[in-house]
């Protein structure tokens, strides 16, 4: 049986929704539009195709809304906020089909309209009429429930009371329905509160369990290729774009992270801790340091951020980040900057000064040598006469040593017997890639008593005329040394400068095509994420698209033939027909539980005959009275009503005893 809503209920539900969610502005005209429908005398003559198109358009609105919310989510997690927004919008997104249903001649959609596969089907399912009123009513209540405040239960209770009073079985008088609804509400109240508590407890348990098992360990640990065998193969995919400010010739070393402890091919950042930064200005400006008095330079860096989280490469001495729309920014005492809750593409500005430095001052760790290579390193340091030299001199000697006697290579040879990978590099092969050079330089300087750290990031020197920017490819990922000199940390790159040439020789012949593709992709991403640069107006594009589509639909509707609508007859469900209180319905209920329900189109007498109870004289008499009560405009006299009630009671008693005796009817 389809549920027919009493007039006005849907509008009331819409207003309730508007009140709860603060969406008054759409709710008012929507409710008005629905309530005006019976009074408006024309209807659109929409054919089957047009109705299907309305469903398509509605689906498109959903897709638009989902994309919009997904975009917002990428900008501003968490996801739950946006799911709630979607819930809140449901009545808005479903309103179009409902309004069309009210204002078209067909009066209802078909199940077939909802599914492409059923559009042309003649099956019973596809042809079944689909009245949207009741589902829409439920959606309104659901959407109104997004904000959990005391008024909600009362409102939903009143609306449901209205519905139940109107749709109650005809044999029940309204006080009974009212009492039952009130009792149900009184039971539901504590139950709903308990359910809420239970949900919270469940959430807590689950999140604890989830953190135990799935959150990754501290990622600040760099495993080098020292000790690996083979050849380093790095892709030429562009990962970062850099636009220098005026008077900044480059090249640039953009640091992702710094490490202070080496052991067996792994650099670790020990005793590191992250601190939260607070944004200033418009919320997209992050101050790392006090503004230095001199030598401040600017860079614009553009890179993709996977899942909105990642390390931000910045040059040493960065003191401020601009245009950075991330939710959280953390910086470690070793200078690593971690962004989270950001968009998929960042386009941020960096203010830096070669003289600024925020990293923690040297500690014992920055002088520690790995035990296995300690002897070799100290011997080499002695050979180079690094001891007691000022840092500048020591660094120059290390640089000269590495540059003069070592060459850059991407081959990864097997370590010699009884030597570690680093010793093999230093003593035998004298060839390696940047990780070797950076590690060797750092440890040699430490052996000389000069604090040094190991840094990773990108070396940016390739200029792309096509885009007018400097780019860093994945193979430009680099490692270098940080050296403590003149009271601050400074970059010290001991890798032979021809390393980029060696790397570039490796590049594939399709590199330029790939670059073009990457560029197009980048442009698309820029367009896609450009709204992150805006504030409130960031969804203008989507609103524009939705508005355009709505305008097209409206125009098409306007062009359609309108037909005069005979004002709709009063809804059936709201009418209480005479004889609704007939006691005979008690027998119908009793028989329904026994023999199954009566099909809606089957007459009472026919049904009773079919299930084998219509033939007795007693039953025939009762049917006669009942039908007279129900269908004779002259009605049934009071004594006859009384006799019917008595006969029904008698029949029910007999029926009950027969039931106990396992006999049917």
């Amino acid at each position: 049986m389809t549920l027919t809503l009493p007039p006005g209920l849907l509008a009331a539900a819409l207003l309730f929704w508007g009140w709860r969610t603060g969406l008054w502005l759409p709710a008012l005209p929507m409710a008005l539009l629905l309530e005006l429908a019976p009074r408006i005398t024309w209807r659109w003559a929409l054919d089957d195709n047009a109705l299907a198109r309305v469903i398509d358009l509605s689906a498109l609105l959903w897709v638009g809304a989902l994309i919009m919310l997904f975009t917002r989510y990428l900008n501003q997690p968490p996801l739950a906020t946006h799911l709630y927004t979607l819930l809140r919008w449901i009545p808005l997104l479903l309103f179009l089909p409902l309004a069309i249903q009210r204002y078209c001649t067909a009066g209802a959609f078909r199940v077939g309209h909802l599914f492409y596969l059923l559009r042309r089907s003649k099956s019973v399912l596809a042809q079944q009429a689909l009245q949207l009123d009741a589902p829409y009513f439920v959606c309104c209540l659901l959407a109104a429930g997004v904000t959990m405040q005391p008024g909600f239960l009362l409102g939903i209770g009143l609306l449901l009371l209205w519905l139940l009073l109107a749709a109650r079985p005809r044999r029940h008088r309204w006080p009974l329905t009212l009492t039952l609804v009130v009792v149900a509400a009184l039971v539901a109240w504590p139950l709903s509160a308990g359910l809420h508590r239970f949900q919270l407890a469940l959430e807590d348990t689950f999140s604890e369990w989830f953190e135990d098992w799935f959150i990754e360990v501290d990622p600040y640990r760099a495993r080098t290729a020292l000790g690996d065998i083979g050849e380093l193969k790095l892709s030429g995919r562009i990962v970062l774009r850099l636009k220098p400010g005026p008077g900044d010739p480059g090249p640039w070393l953009l640091r992702d992270a710094a490490y202070n402890s080496y052991f067996d091919g792994v650099w670790q950042a020990k005793n590191t801790r992250f601190t939260d930064l607070k944004s200033t200005g418009d919320g997209r400006e992050w101050r790392l340091l006090m503004a230095p008095e001199r030598q401040s330079r600017q860079l614009a860096i553009s890179l993709e951020l996977r899942r909105g989280t990642g390390m931000l490469p910045v040059p040493l001495g960065a003191w401020q980040l601009d245009r950075l729309p991330v939710g959280e920014l953390q910086i470690s005492n070793l200078g690593a900057i971690k962004a989270s809750e950001g968009p998929g593409l960042l386009d941020y500005g960096v203010e830096y000064s070669p003289v600024a430095d925020r990293d923690a001052p040297p500690a014992e760790l920055d002088l520690a040598l790995p035990r296995r290579e300690q002897a070799t390193l100290q011997r080499l340091a002695a050979e180079l006469d690094l001891a007691n030299q000022p840092p500048a001199v020591a660094a120059a000697r290390v640089h000269a040593f590495l540059l003069g006697q070592f060459r850059y290579s991407l081959d990864l040879p097997a370590p010699a017997a009884r030597l570690t990978a680093l010793e093999t590099f230093l003593l035998q092969t004298r060839a390696g890639h940047c990780e070797y050079f950076a590690t060797a330089a750092a440890l040699l300087l430490r052996a000389a008593g000069i604090p040094a750290r190991y840094a990773t990031g990108f070396s940016v020197s390739e200029y792309r005329a096509l885009e007018g920017v400097y780019v860093a490819r994945r193979r430009h990922a680099h490692a270098w040394t940080l050296i403590w000199r003149d009271g601050r940390w400074q970059d010290f790159d001991a890798t032979p400068p021809d390393w980029t040439r060696v790397e570039d020789e490796q590049s594939a012949w399709w590199q330029s095509i790939d670059d073009l593709w990457v560029w197009l992709n980048h442009q698309f991403n820029r367009w896609r994420w450009q709204e992150t640069t805006g504030e409130e107006s960031d969804n203008r594009g989507w609103w524009g698209v939705s508005g355009g589509l709505a305008a097209v639909l409206f125009w098409r509707l306007l062009r359609r033939r309108r037909v005069r609508h005979r004002s709709a007859a009063k809804p059936v469900a709201a009418t209480i027909w005479p004889g609704a209180e007939s006691p005979f319905y008690q027998i119908v209920v009793a028989l329904t539980t026994r023999a199954g329900s009566r099909p809606p189109g089957e007459g009472l007498e026919h049904w009773l005959r079919r299930i084998g109870v219509g033939e007795t004289a007693e039953m025939k008499a009762m049917i006669g009275w009942h039908q007279r009560w129900r269908f004779d405009p002259a009605g049934l006299s009071a004594p006859e009503q009384h006799r019917l009630a008595e006969t029904v009671a008698g029949w029910l008693t007999v029926h009950a005893t027969q039931r106990r005796g396992k006999r049917f009817y």
Binding site: M1, G107, K122, Q127, V572, W577, P578, V588, R598, P599, P600, G601, E602, G603, L604, E605, H606, W607, Q627, R628, R630, F631, D632, P633, A634
Partner: protein
């Protein structure tokens, strides 16, 4: 009282139409409701016998027209012929000037001839040479058509179809019925022995009683919902008209009278809904070729529209 008249008629006609109580009931319902009947059945099922027996029992004047492709409107309605002696046109009335008219194989005549009956059936009058001739309140058409003979047949236009209150078929009698038929006709046809059993005053009473049958608003609404549902049913190009609603109401009243009730229940509406509505529906060609029938559409409607209980 009225119910007794009905019972008398029913029993009387059943001596001729053995095992056809249902058919007789429906025919009488249509007659009391003032509607015409279209019988659609195979040859030899007793259509003509039924019509003859009916006219004979009711003391009504009876005429029969065998429709053929060359039948002209004047063959039905009559024609004015110049009388040279009197120097004037004299109207020779056709067979349509009667009370019970059996139009046998009506779909064999051309649409022009079929249309000649329209006015007579709709308004119980015939206009000839600019003159109106009343046909009387008992004018009742029983038309027959053979469903299988498509060759040389002109399907009745929708307007004509709509003027028939009922369309149903007699169907073959069951074995016992057919045996009884043989027994009854061993010596002579029972029709020959059939005598009138009610007079016209009784018929007037019957019609008056039917008109006094009450119908509640709820049952009327159910009836209208049924008719309206045929207009929205899938595969239907043209649904039943308001004339169908009227016919269904009148016929349901007659049935209520026959059932001894003073009011109409939904059961009476359901009983003849298919016979009243199906022949007025025009199906989409696509639906028709896919095997959908108008009877099936009305059957679906009856199953789907909730019946008041």
């Amino acid at each position: 009282m009225s119910r007794e008249i009905y019972q008398t008629l029913l029993n009387h006609l059943e001596t001729v139409m053995i095992g056809q109580r249902r058919t007789i009931r429906w025919l009488l319902a249509a007659f009391v409701a003032g509607g015409h009947v279209l019988l659609e059945d195979l040859p030899g099922t007793g259509k003509t016998t039924l019509a003859k027996a009916f006219a004979c029992s009711l003391t009504l004047e009876f005429q029969r027209i065998q429709f053929t492709p060359d039948l002209l409107p004047s063959d039905i309605l009559g024609v004015s012929i110049f009388d040279p002696q009197r120097q004037e046109f004299r109207l020779h009335r056709g067979p349509a000037f009667t009370e019970v008219l059996l139009a046998d194989e009506i779909n064999r005549a051309s649409p022009r001839t079929q249309a000649a009956l329209l006015e007579a059936m709709g308004e119980r009058q015939i206009s000839l040479d600019g003159e109106r001739h009343e046909l009387g309140e008992w004018f009742f058409v029983i038309a027959t058509q053979n469903p299988i003979e498509f060759h040389g047949a002109y399907p009745l236009p929708e307007a004509q179809m709509d003027r028939f209150a009922l369309r149903f078929n007699l169907g073959y009698p069951d074995v016992a019925g057919e045996m009884a038929l043989l027994t009854a006709q061993r010596e002579r046809h029972p029709l020959e022995a059939l005598r009138p059993c009610v007079d016209r005053a009784a018929l007037v009473d019957l019609r008056r009683a039917a008109a006094a049958i009450r119908i509640s608003e709820e049952v009327s609404r159910y009836l209208v919902e049924l008719v309206a549902a045929t207009r929205k049913a899938p595969g239907v190009a043209m649904g039943a008209s308001p004339r169908a609603s009227l016919a269904l109401m009148k016929i349901a009243r007659s049935l209520a009278l026959f059932d001894g009730l003073e009011f109409v229940t939904p059961d009476q509406v359901q009983e003849l809904a298919t016979a009243v509505l199906a022949h007025r529906l025009k199906l989409d060609p696509q639906a028709r070729f896919s095997g959908l029938t108008a009877e099936a559409v009305v059957g679906d409607v009856l199953r789907q529209v909730p019946v008041p209980v």
